[in-house]
Symmetry: C2
Subunit: 108 residues, 2 copies
Amino acid sequence: MDPQTQRLYELKAQIVQAAAHPIRLAIIDFLSDGEQCVCDISEHVGAKRSNVSRHLSVMLKSGVLECRKDGLKVIYSLKTPCILKFLDCVNDVLRHQARQSQAVLSRL
Amino acid sequence: MDPQTQRLYELKAQIVQAAAHPIRLAIIDFLSDGEQCVCDISEHVGAKRSNVSRHLSVMLKSGVLECRKDGLKVIYSLKTPCILKFLDCVNDVLRHQARQSQAVLSRL
DNA sequence: TGACTATGTGATGCCCTACTCACGTAGTTG
DNA sequence: CAACTACGTGAGTAGGGCATCACATAGTCA
C-alpha cells in the first residue's frame, strides 16, 4: 500500500475515532437537534464539564464540530450534516445484528 | 440520560470503534471487492499476519465481519453492506473538510 | 508420518486515551 | 472592583489498545 493511500486511511480513521466513544455519540445526537452550550451538553450526557470539554475539543480538532462564543457561553454545533448519515449507518448495522440474533434465538 | 440509552450508545460506540483504525479501514475497503483470506489481506495492507489477525478478530467480535474456513485458509468477508455506506459518509466529511480548507487557502 | 503452510493467541512493552481534581481565565453582574 | 459563572487546561493516574515475538494448533501434501 503506497504512503499516500495509507495517509488517507489515517485521516479517515481520525474522523471515525472522533465518534468512537459513547459520550461523543451522545453529544452528536444531542447536537443534531441544534446548537448547545457546554453546560447543557454536560448535563444532558451526565458527565463532568471538564470531561465533556475534552471530548468536545477532540471532535472540534477532527472537524466534526464547530463552535462560537456567546457571552460567557461557548456554543457547539455539528459542522457537517454528513455525520448524521454516519450515525444512521451505525444504527443500520446494529439493527442488522439484532435481527440476526433474534433469528438465532427463535430456533430455541 | 437513562441507563438503557447509555447502553445503546456503548453498543454503537463498539461498532464505530471497530472501524476506527487505519488498518481496519483498509481491510474493510479491501473486502468490499469480495472475500479474502488472512494472508492476502495481510499482504495488501502491509502489516504482519499476527497483527492483522487481531484486527480481524476485533471486527469479527463487533459484528462487522464474518468468516469461514476453506482448507488451511480462513476467508473473511463483510457481514453487512451498511458498513460501506458508513465509509461513504466518512469520505463525505473528509471532502467537506478539504473544500473548506481550500476555500480558506484561496484567499492568500 | 513428517515437513510445511495458514492462522490464532499468550506474554510483553509502549504509548495513547479517558477521567478526575485543581486551578486559571474570560466574561458577566452587582 | 468583587463575586460569580462558564469554560478550558495542566498534572496525575488508571486502564486499554496496538504492535511484536514466540509458540501452539489445524490442515495439507508428499
